[in-house]
Amino acid sequence: MKRGLMILLLALAGFGGNLLHAGEAQPLAEDELTEKRLIAISSELRCLVCQNESLAGSHAELANDLRREIRTLINEGKSDNEIMEFMVSRYGDFVRYRPPLKGTTLLLWFGPGLLFVLGLAGLARYLRRRDLAVRDTPLTAEEQRQAELLLHDQDPSQGRS
């Protein structure tokens, strides 16, 4: 019980930490709803300066500019899709953390699944082959006799065989 509580507390602490972290690079909220949408949108976007950081979490100059731009667009009443389109038309699909499904991204989307299926097929083939290799062959009478001999011949002091 105590342990369960501890885990729960730790999990909550971790979660809270994440929330704090996501809000770190945000300027002071003027309008809570705008800021919420800004965070939601910019978490889906890549910062092009530090490419493995989202636009929401980045401290880069350009990220600041782009967040300001997104905030302006939100205040102009643009929808999330329109804002996404604004970013993609300038920086390309690379700016999105969820790349769209199209010809050039097919391998990206289905490559891992394909590798998994290939791996499974390889494993199945290997297992079947190994099964065939160790097919049951009954012992001949002579072999049986030898085996018995070896079993009975064991030194009792060595314990169970």
């Binding site: 092009l48 300066v49 490419q51 100059e61 350009l62 500019d65 782009l66 731009e69 993609v88 038309s89 300038r90 920086y91 390309g92 699909d93 690379f94």
Partner: protein, 194 residues
């Protein structure tokens, strides 16, 4: 023999993929603007701040737009090439001075009075060109970086080749190297100027 063949093939394929991956430049993000009209803007000119410049004025000409700033270290690397290009008078080269003051990490913007920023931009940009040579037909000032966003600028220097109808035909992110200039830009300019 057969036992080692497949792992060997797998290893070779893996090494080949890694070799290709290591040689790709992660900064080289394909621009969606190539093949599209150059975004329009109207910005004050560096050497004539009362006059505005707009890409529309270049219709009918092949030209290049080069994004630069005095704080940009790689700009110094490509600058001699630009000066050389300008000396040969190939095509008009327009400089887009990008966030001259705001983009400089060494400047604390809280200490810069809002109305003094433009003066600082003019001063710093002109000084830099006087010192390193001015290859630009004209330069314009993108003080807040707003036009830079329309052009998808994310790493200065960047260079755009724009054709006679105002379509962006090529974008170079990062400094122009002699290889890029002679291998890609110059042939493209010749082709577009026909």
């Amino acid at each position: 023999m057969n036992r080692f063949l497949w792992p060997l093939i797998g290893f070779v394929v893996l090494v080949a993929l890694l070799a290709v991956g290591l040689n790709l430049n992660p900064r080289d993000v394909p621009s969606p603007l190539v093949g599209k009209p150059a975004p329009s803007f109207s910005l004050p000119r560096l050497h004539a701040p009362d006059q505005q410049f707009s890409p529309k004025e270049m219709l009918g000409k092949v030209w290049m737009l080069n994004v630069w700033a005095s704080w940009c270290v790689s700009c110094r690397q490509e600058h001699p090439l630009l000066v050389e290009l300008a000396r040969r008078q190939t095509v008009p080269l327009v400089g887009l001075n990008y966030k001259e003051v705001r983009g400089d990490g060494a400047i604390d913007m809280d200490k810069v009075a809002p109305d003094s920023e433009k003066g600082m931009v003019l001063q710093r940009a002109a000084d830099w060109l006087a010192k390193h040579g001015d290859p630009y037909t004209l330069s314009v000032l993108d003080i807040d970086g707003r036009v830079g966003i329309d052009y998808g600028v994310y790493g200065v220097p960047e260079t755009y080749v724009i054709d006679k109808t105002g379509i962006i035909r090529m974008k170079q992110t990062g400094p122009i190297t002699p290889d890029v200039l002679s291998g890609k830009i110059l042939p493209l300019l010749t082709e577009l100027s026909k």
